[in-house]
Amino acid sequence: MKIAVCIKRVPDSETRVKIAADGKSLDEAGIKFVLNPYDEFAVEEALRRKEQAGAGEVAVICLGPAAAQETIRTALAMGADRGVLLQADKIPIDPFETAKLIAAELKGATWDLILFGRMAIDDYNTQVGPLVAELLGLPCVTAVSHLDIEGTKGVAEREIEGGIEVVEFPLPAVLTADKGLNEPRYPALKGIMAAKKKSLEVKPVQAGAGTLEIVALTPPPDRKEGKIVGEGAGAVGELVRLLREEAKVL
């Protein structure tokens, strides 16, 4: 099994968002960056598939700044074999430009599986996986929460509104991982030490201009100051009255 996992370095979900002086970007000072949580499911799945097959390779590919080497090392510490950093100072705002850079890198080899996280928790774009699949002409299943593979045939489950879609596809394929697919392992000390010696290739890339232009990054509108209606079951009557007469939702 030769598997590529495409990962992203993102601000930790607990990050306090401070907007930079340009009014268009995140002030990155003091922010802790982590491996995108959905990408952890993708890395874990790749490792399990390789372990089951008893042979193969898990390569991790990341588009990002020099500091993303640390993110790649996290995946290597989990057990991936080697990493490639497509180094760009900024991740393009246009996801299609990101997809083009990743697809160009993936084209250089043949893969049985190419895995992504379902979405990145910073920009919520939820599309680089399927965009790359289209650019490579490969079958694609998104938001996979259960996966069975036998030979070159796969069956995946994905959550849809009110049910689960059971999807069949041939390998090689591009899959995006959802929560539920597996329980990602924590890197063990041994893995962390081993990761330092694994190959991490840095390739500078230049993204195209794309067709998106950031106008502004702003805090969300404040929710109107709420009120504590009261304490205990005695407050329920007043709550219902407010929901009917003031909020008009009942």
Partner: protein
């Protein structure tokens, strides 16, 4: 200027989220062409006219009986290339999130995804999307022609704007594709998905044990089929509730008209999934819980006393 509004159907019935897509499309000005991929005429497709579709096109192919990602993407991309649409609008639903990028890539662009607002701005489209778990809003100018957009569900409240909605059926010739839906395992009858519910009652660790979710289920039932029961990450990770019910950053993003958070402290990752709800009610025994900071109405106290009383009151209203 014409906007292509991509409708959704399941089992030959138009999905309600399609109304939101048409509503958003008609707000862009110009005319709206609604399009749906289906194996046969879609029940309820004519409804698109009520919300502003000047034309309703059904693209038919036997492969469209179930969701056929590759065949649908090809049919829509072919249509988009012929039509010269300025904007193509999808719902950011499970299907729209899968289909939108496939169509966009065939047109050589990306998707302006999960939008909470979009307006025409000269030659461009000006869109707003929540980022960083809803802790910031990103305003972006989309200059691509066409622009491909997907809309966060439950944000664009359907508004009636009746138009002619001239119906057209076009049999399309596309390959069935390599990725096929074998079956849909439906959730038990009568359960409403949190992503689609107008009212959500979510429970967290304050429920103490899985069996206690029955108090929330009773409240949901009192709303008569309009409410779904959601869950925080803590209780999903503990195995009390299914991941499908999880609201939050690693679950579903919801915008119901009423969100009732019961025994949920309000971690950032939970707020990410529900802060765009229209009205938020919090019930929690800890008066300092962060959930009260985003709640419109809070009740402090024992949920096992408060929720059953609320259920009684709601039953009276609906009785």
């Amino acid at each position: 200027m014409t906007t292509l509004a991509v409708l959704e159907q399941r089992d030959g019935v138009l999905r309600k989220i399609s109304h939101e897509v048409v509503t958003a499309a008609q707000r862009l000005g110009g005319s709206v062409e609604a399009v749906v991929c289906a194996a046969a005429p879609v029940q309820g497709a004519d409804q698109a006219a009520k919300f502003g579709a000047d034309k309703i096109v059904t693209l038919t192919n036997p492969a469209f009986a179930k969701y056929a990602p590759e065949a649908c993407a090809q049919a829509l991309a072919d249509r988009a290339k012929q039509g010269g649409y300025r904007t193509i609008v999808f719902a950011a639903s499970a299907t729209g999130k899968d289909l939108g990028p496939r169509v966009a890539a065939k047109l050589g662009v990306g998707v302006a995804a999960d939008l909470t607002d979009l307006v025409t701005d000269g030659d461009a489209l000006l869109v707003t999307r929540p980022v960083y778990a809803g802790k910031a809003l990103l305003k972006v100018k989309v200059r691509s022609q066409p622009a491909v957009a997907s809309l966060r569900p439950n944000v664009f409240t359907p508004v009636e704007r009746p138009k002619a909605g001239a119906a057209e059926t076009v049999a399309v010739n596309v390959l069935a594709g390599r990725v096929t839906v074998r079956e849909i395992k439906a959730a038990p009858a009568g359960t409403l998905d949190v992503a689609e519910a107008q009212i959500i009652i979510s429970g967290g660790r304050g429920l103490k044990e899985p069996a206690n979710f029955k108090v929330l289920e009773e409240l949901a039932r009192a709303f008569g089929g309009r409410a779904a029961v959601g869950a925080s990450r803590a209780v999903v990770d503990a195995g009390w509730r299914a991941h499908a019910d999880q609201v939050g950053q690693t679950g579903k993003t919801v915008s119901p008209s009423l969100y009732i958070a019961v025994g949920i402290s309000g971690a950032i990752q939970h707020l990410a999934g529900m802060r765009t709800s229209k009205v938020i009610v919090a019930i929690n025994k800890d008066k300092d819980a962060p959930i009260f900071k985003v709640a419109d109405y809070g009740v402090v106290g024992d949920l096992f006393e408060i929720v059953p009383r609320l259920t009684e009151e709601i039953r009276k209203l609906h009785g």
